[in-house]
């Protein structure tokens, strides 16, 4: 091992105990970065001398020096396990001093793991890494999209879902948000949590965008389909907080999907099938064909739900006819499934094959309901506090003030009251 590396290792070992020492170490390592990169061949052998949990910062720099010098294909096999161990055991305070390097190392891990085609090896380390880098559970790091991508490839949907449970309030990079929302949406679709998927995809579409992003286009296509499955309808109007670029351009890229939405509204399964057939190639190219098939099967459910609004009792054969199913047996299975899922309230009388539709039996007079409302109210109060804080911060924002000031100056007419000004006047 060369002298330079020896001295670096020596420094790391001595200067890793207190925050002041860590600062010193940080500056020292920054100065020696070039050296680290040039001596990259010796670096790996230096690693066993350091303890990843005590000397995390130094370890990080060495690993980073090594990975920047070498291409992904050249990395040795034990690299994944080394990094994995590091990510699991490193100390959060130390690595937060050099976040970009940490993110870079994580990215290399992801690339390596995808290359050797065992993404599952990267899931647990990256999950630990997220928790260590995050300032708080509401913070979206650059590691999140990589982690979700690995979860998708490894089919560990539940781990991904656990990370998606946290609401995100702080975002560093808009690309992170787009990818996070897109991958997160796909994971939720995989777990059939359509409501959360809809939320995440909605965030992707309405994120501020100067130029149209391909992620947003794909997200929009999935959004249309999930909206049809979960809500039974798709409203083509955009909310007012969507960016101008998205508003103008998204629809042109998703024509087949919008057509599908329109045919879905009619409720006729044959029409829907025809539309699917017409655009089948396009759906398959976009890898959305599975979702499209789910859309078709959800039409039956939607039709049954529509029936509950008109009829009190109906025979199974009638249901089969109206919903365009093939036999009353199929109708019975479908209704049974829907009752179990809680999508409708009904009783099936097997003796005479009649189904009676019931009202929602929830009387709202139980203690559980009190707890539910209470917890919702607590969440709402927190959200309200955050909103007021953001609102005030935005009012002091120079971009906002200059824009509003510009609008006011040509008109000195006090009668021309801009409502945006009311709140901070």
């Amino acid at each position: 091992m060369s002298d330079a590396v020896e001295s670096i290792v020596g420094h790391i070992q001595s200067l890793s105990s207190s925050p002041i020492q860590l600062d010193q170490l940080h500056r020292f390592l920054n100065r020696r970065e070039k050296q680290l990169r040039s001596e990259s061949t010796h670096l790996l052998s230096a690693l066993p001398q350091l303890d990843p949990s005590l000397h995390s910062l130094g370890y990080l720099y060495i690993v980073d020096g090594y990975t920047t010098a070498h291409d992904t294909k050249e990395l040795p096999d034990e690299f994944v396990s080394i990094i994995g161990r590091f990510l699991n055991t490193c100390s959060a305070n130390q690595i937060r001093l050099a976040p970009e390097k940490f993110v870079a190392v994580c990215r290399r891990l992801k690339d390596q793991v995808m290359l050797i085609q065992s993404p599952i090896r990267g899931v647990a380390p990256l999950r630990a890494a997220i928790r260590k880098l995050q300032a708080s559970p509401e913070h979206l790091t650059a590691i999140h999209p990589d982690f979700l991508l690995l979860c998708l490839s490894a089919k560990c949907y539940r781990t991904g879902l656990a990370v998606l449970e946290d609401d995100v309030y702080e975002v560093e990079n808009s690309k992170d948000l787009l990818l996070y929302g897109y991958y997160g949406g796909m994971i939720c679709i995989g777990q059939k949590c359509f409501r959360k998927a809809l939320d995440l995809l909605h965030n992707v579409i309405t994120a501020p965008m100067a130029n149209l992003s391909a992620v947003a286009v794909e997200a929009y296509k999935k959004y249309v389909l999930v909206s049809l499955i979960h809500l039974g309808q798709f409203i083509p109007d955009f909310p007012k907080y969507i960016s101008a670029t998205a508003e103008k351009n998204l629809k042109s890229y998703a024509q087949p999907y919008l057509e599908l939405a329109v045919t879905y509204d009619t409720g006729k399964v044959t029409e829907l099938e025809r539309c699917v057939q017409k655009h089948q190639e396009r759906f398959q190219k976009d890898n959305n064909f599975g979702l499209v098939r789910q859309v078709v099967s959800s039409t039956y459910k939607r039709n049954v739900q529509r029936l509950t609004q008109t009829y009190l009792t109906l025979s199974l054969q009638d249901i089969a006819d109206r919903v365009q199913l093939n036999s009353s047996k199929e109708a019975e299975m479908l209704v049974l499934q829907m009752i179990q899922d809680g999508e409708i309230f009904a009783t099936i009388n097997q003796k005479d094959g009649m189904v009676r539709f019931l009202e929602d039996p929830e009387q709202y007079r139980s203690c559980e309901m009190v707890e539910r409302i209470d917890s919702s109210m607590q969440r709402m109060m927190m959200l309200s506090k955050k909103l007021t804080a953001t609102n005030e911060a935005l009012s002091c924002d120079p971009a906002f003030l200059t824009k509003v000031g510009k609008e006011r100056s040509p008109m000195l007419d006090l009668d021309d009251y801009d409502p945006a000004l009311e709140h901070f006047m």
């Binding site: 409203i235 109007d237 309901m369 409302i373 109210m377 709402m380």
Partner: protein, 325 residues
Amino acid sequence: MASSSSSNLTFKLHPLVMLNISDHYTRVKSQSAGPPHSAALASAPPPLRVFGCVIGVQRGRTVEIFNSFELLFDDSTHSLDRAFLIKKQELYKKVFPNFYVLGWYSTGSDAEESDMIIHKSLMDINESPVFVLLNPSVNHAQKDLPITIFESELHIIDAVPQLIFVRSSYSIETVEAERISVDHVAHLKPSDGGSAATQCNPPLLIIVECLIAASFVRDKTPMYSAIKMLNSRIRVLHHYLLAMEKGDMPCENSLLRQVSSLLRRLPTVESAKFQDDFLMDYNDTLFVSYLAMLTNCSSTMNDLVDKFNTAYDRNSRRGGRTAFI
């Protein structure tokens, strides 16, 4: 005739008076609409007016109207039945020695000239009587109570001193017992048989609704401070019992007995039906608060989005967009 009073008297009206007047009006109205052949005449019914007397207490500049009773109006002499009035007054004096005849009431949409005659006739009992007017026409858009209080003042009009009616402001004063009964009347649902009262008595309904709304905010403050005090007292007791358990305080059996008897007093009602109703009411109130918070949040969010669009979007004027959440 409808300028505002300058006498600086504060009027306090009790709900009982309003309920009495409304009840009187409805009773007479439903009794006179009896025989079916009069349905032909029902196309132009003459406005029905009922009359009566209001009694209460006047302390300094505060006039508090507690109760009322009915009087017959003699159309021929345009005066109230004086003998009956005096007899009723004496009867009330026996039960409520403090109450005096403060004035009179009637129904209608506005005070009329002929009312001044009645008003003047009462001036020998009370030198400045009040005139309480209930408007029985049901106006659902109106959010205020359909009750006006008039005083008489001497104004110089066309160099002739005349007594005219002037409006006075008033406030609603409730005693606990009244609040409970008003609450009870308000919650009678149409499915109960007993609510035929509110169904054929629209003025009553409006009065009751306005009363509930008006008293909701004000009456809750004493309740809130009472609950706060109860909470702090219970905390003191709890603390004391904990200290006794730990051994910091000497064990006093008599006090323990008192505490245990206090605890056994509640809950007074313990049945499944009570739990059901209680939880349903509780959930209703919670839902209302939840709705209020949701609306608050949505409005802040809306403001935020507008500001963001103004600050960061290239085309700041985005009118005509349909907003969906």
